[in-house]
């Protein structure tokens, strides 16, 4: 596809473009060694897919400093030039409403853009042009990527790129990001053709006020010249976040002047906010009518799908079925790989380490006892995370996520949340870690924190093994009910805790909920895969330190003898410092019915990952040797690894057909019924104590991986406050359950 040549701007209103200055900018750009290209566009315009196609593997994704908004940038070589591409978060307008939009506005002011690349959805020209017209107020050359032209065509909309270009005075390149159409020439067009486009003229009174404010800015070196007109207009609109920024930088005179103008305009019966919005839409509508010949609109696939997905009766069942499918995916497809990493692979690694480090017993113990299990724990999260992140990307990129929020909105209202909060909570049942990241879809900071704090009460899949073994031991005939009641209890506690937080420390800010229901799109596999893989990898990177440190601490505690005459690393758990510490803590749990050191001790490693509780209980009650790794030859190890990997792949693939079958709770518990651990637990716990123990395990703390995620998203304080609160809640809940249940069970 070709770029329409930028004709000299046809200006329906008095031109303000200084042609000389404009030509100078373009010349500067061509000579510029490292031009900075800022990519801006509405949400749901396929912008990230397009940028992925343009930048490919050069795209680096990080975080904007101080906030948890993704920063996507690339350095691209093009002959002599290095192009710095910065893909800004999606924005409906430049008066920010979300943290993402604030980033976009701030970058436009502070990142010294040399050229702007505006991604526009060809199927929704009018609304997208609102942002375009705002961008043109920046005196920076701009190029438009007219994206999703194929989708628009299917709707019956044929956009005339030439007409669009003529109207706006900037080049327009047609693209289809998913198919990489038009992407090859996009950067060339952006760098060589970009123009400072035609500026929209507002009613005279507004123009006069804006000109006066711009005049005041000339001598203020802190305000970037390219943004003067945008700043003046935003001040007249009364943009609250801009006021904050300017008053913080000491521009009170400017703000006072803007206020005076606003007051005068309002006195004259003009609300600048409305006047400006109406002028932009009038122009956007005019351009859209000229660029898109009237067409017969077809009933789109989106409308057909919405009839089903948002159906009064079928909508919610379909939603629940989809959620169920996602979880079954994690259980059936990811679980065999989780077991592979936690079991055979770890054994092989331990065996090799034992063989290689035979000459240094202490080093061997550290590697086998702390490092390998620590790394193994982090790695064993990865299959689950990858599957959940893939599912999340699919639901997000396909447009279904917005529908889910629409369906669930009513149920979240009691907590001052909107439907979007439902997604992280649901994901929490799979794994709390991706759920914490999913809170990013919420607009308000307090909502993100609130949802993250209640998330750990959603019973993640790692807690299931604990329920299963205890049900088998103590409630062999009611296993399914016990498991089910744990999930329900977790949700009930989550909602109660949220209610309390709302009343005390995190009141709902603002009100009003607005969701866009974007057209359904089939997500590009490559984009989905890179999203999911990147999120998973970033987890591994950050969890590594936290998890390793925790594992090391537990290992040291287990290795230090608490009685004389024993060597470091040679003690039984009961005689280790760990055993002693557990003993010291255990009276705290006496009112909950499980005040013995074994039960208490098993809770500590559960902090690393909940399923470890079961392993530790086995170790303590059955006196199982804490994996004494026998040295393993290289060839043997390779053979074991290959075999175990093959088995995992086979199990995973074989499980796929069962995805369509209905889940059967409790089937697993009967299989475990006869294990020696279950028998030992039946002797050690009364049913009431066992129930209290399960309640405690359900509620007591997020695992370290989740704590790490919370720390990354919301800071140390929120993460550790959550741990403290949840410890307290778990204890009280355990106490209540035990004190009631012991009279009945």
């Amino acid at each position: 596809m070709t770029a329409s040549p930028p004709p000299s701007p046809r200006l329906p209103t008095a031109p303000r473009v200084d042609e000389v200055a404009c030509a100078a900018t373009v010349a500067r750009l061509r000579a510029h060694r490292e031009p900075r290209v800022l990519v801006v566009g509405n949400p749901n315009t396929g912008k990230s897919t397009l940028i992925n196609a343009v930048a490919g593997t050069h795209l680096k994704v990080g975080n904007w400093s101080g906030v948890t908004v993704e920063k996507r940038e690339a350095h691209l070589k093009r002959g002599e030039q290095t192009i710095h591409l910065l893909d800004l978060p999606g924005a409906y307008s430049l008066s920010p409403h979300t943290p993402e939009e604030l980033i976009t506005r701030t970058a436009l002011l502070d990142e010294a853009p040399d050229v702007l690349l505006n991604v526009v959805d060809a199927g929704n020209l009018e609304r997208n042009l609102y942002l375009t017209l705002q961008l043109l107020e920046f005196r920076v050359p701009l190029t438009i990527a007219l994206n999703l032209v194929d989708e628009a065509r299917n709707k019956g909309l044929e956009v005339d790129a030439g007409a669009l270009s003529a109207q706006l005075g900037v080049p327009v390149v047609e693209t289809v990001g998913v198919k990489s159409l038009g992407t090859a020439g996009l950067l060339d067009a952006t760098l060589s053709g970009a123009q400072v486009g035609a500026v929209l003229r507002y009613p005279d009174a507004i123009e006069a006020a804006a000109a006066e404010l711009e005049g005041r800015m000339v001598n203020l070196s802190t305000l970037p010249p390219h943004a003067h007109r945008y700043l003046a207009l935003s001040l007249l609109e009364g943009d609250p976040s801009l006021r904050g920024r300017l008053s913080a930088t000491g521009h009170t005179d400017l703000l006072d002047a803007a206020d005076a103008h606003r007051a005068a305009l309002e006195l004259a019966g003009l609300d600048p906010l409305i006047e400006i919005a109406e002028a932009r839409y009038a122009r956007a509508g005019e351009i859209a009518r000229l660029a898109v010949p009237q067409a017969e609109l077809k009933l789109t696939l989106t409308e057909k799908l919405d009839k089903l997905a948002l159906h009064p009766w079928l909508g919610i069942p379909i939603f629940l079925a989809l959620v169920l499918t996602v979880f079954r995916l994690t259980f059936t497809v990811a679980a065999p790989f989780v077991d592979l990493i936690g079991g055979p692979l770890q054994d092989v690694a331990s065996g090799w380490a034992a063989g290689l480090l035979g000459w240094a017993p202490l080093l061997k113990d550290i590697v086998v006892g702390a490092i390998i299990p620590g790394v193994g724990t982090v790695l064993s999260f990865l299959p689950t995370l990858l599957v959940l992140y893939l599912a999340m990307s699919f639901l997000e990129d396909s447009g279904y996520m917005a529908r889910a929020a629409f369906l669930a909105d009513r149920s979240m209202r009691g907590l001052g949340l909107d439907g979007r909060a439902f997604i992280p909570l649901i994901l929490g049942f799979g794994c709390n870690v991706p759920a914490v990241y999913a809170t990013r879809t919420l607009e308000r900071k307090s909502d993100r924190v609130l949802v993250s704090m209640i998330l750990p009460f959603m019973s993640c899949s790692a807690r299931l093994p604990v329920y299963v073994i205890f049900s088998a031991a103590l409630f062999p005939h009611a296993g399914a009910w016990i498991v089910w009641s744990m999930y329900v209890l977790g949700m009930a506690v989550a909602f109660a805790f949220a209610w309390v937080l709302r009343k005390t420390s995190l009141p709902a800010e603002g009100s009003g909920v607005l969701l866009e229901l974007p057209p359904y799109r089939f997500p590009a596999w490559k984009v989905m895969w890179t999203h999911a893989a990147r999120r998973t990898a970033s987890f591994a990177k950050r969890a590594r330190t936290t998890v390793l440190a925790t594992v090391a601490v537990v290992w040291v505690l287990l290795s230090i003898p608490a009685v004389s005459g024993q060597a470091f690393g040679e003690v039984a758990p009961a005689q280790s410092l760990f055993g002693r510490v557990s003993q010291a803590i255990s009276p705290v749990f006496a009112p909950l019915g499980f005040g013995n050191w074994q039960a208490t001790g098993a809770l500590v490693p559960g902090f690393i990952a909940k399923e470890v509780v079961v392993g530790t209980l086995g170790q303590i009650y059955l006196g199982e040797e804490a994996k004494r790794a026998a040295p393993l030859g290289f060839a043997q190890g390779v053979e074991q690894t290959a075999l175990a990997t093959w088995n995992a792949v086979k199990t995973s693939v074989q499980a796929l057909p069962t995805l369509i079958a209905l889940p059967s709770f409790g089937a697993d518990s009967s299989a475990e019924q006869k294990t020696p651990l279950a028998a030992a637990l039946a002797r050690a716990f009364t049913p009431a104590a066992g129930l209290a123990y399960l309640v405690f395990v359900l509620l007591y703390t997020p695992c370290v991986a989740t704590i790490g995620a919370m720390q990354a998203e919301h800071g140390r304080r929120v993460a550790w406050l959550t741990v403290a609160y949840e410890m307290g809640i778990a204890w009280v809940a355990g106490l209540i359950v035990y004190q009631i249940a012991r009279h009945f069970l």
Binding site: N124, R127, A277, H311, F406, D409, L514, E516, L517
Partner: protein
């Protein structure tokens, strides 16, 4: 804005009804955002459906599909399109 007999608030429309925007309440919490998305005088808005639990409301504004709560629609005054689709 001068009142008009046929003017109603947007939350009173039933699915299938279409209307033109007359005014936004000056104190509407989403006023700025709604204006930017196109809730300006004369814009045509159509009620597509209610969510299964009764709220929010699925609207179509121009070529954009939006979901808003009935409470937030109360601050939007509209004039019904006669015999609207």
């Amino acid at each position: 804005m001068i009142g008009f007999m046929g003017d109603v608030t947007l939350d009173t429309l039933k699915p299938g009804a279409a209307a033109h925007v007359v005014a936004l309440d000056a104190r509407h919490p989403l006023r700025r955002r709604l204006l930017e998305l196109g809730f300006i005088r004369g814009a045509r808005v159509e009620v597509m459906r209610f969510a299964p639990l009764g709220d929010p409301v699925h609207l179509r504004l121009g070529r954009t599909d939006l979901a808003l709560r009935a409470a937030d629609l109360h601050g939007v005054t509209v004039r019904a399109v006669q015999g609207g689709v």
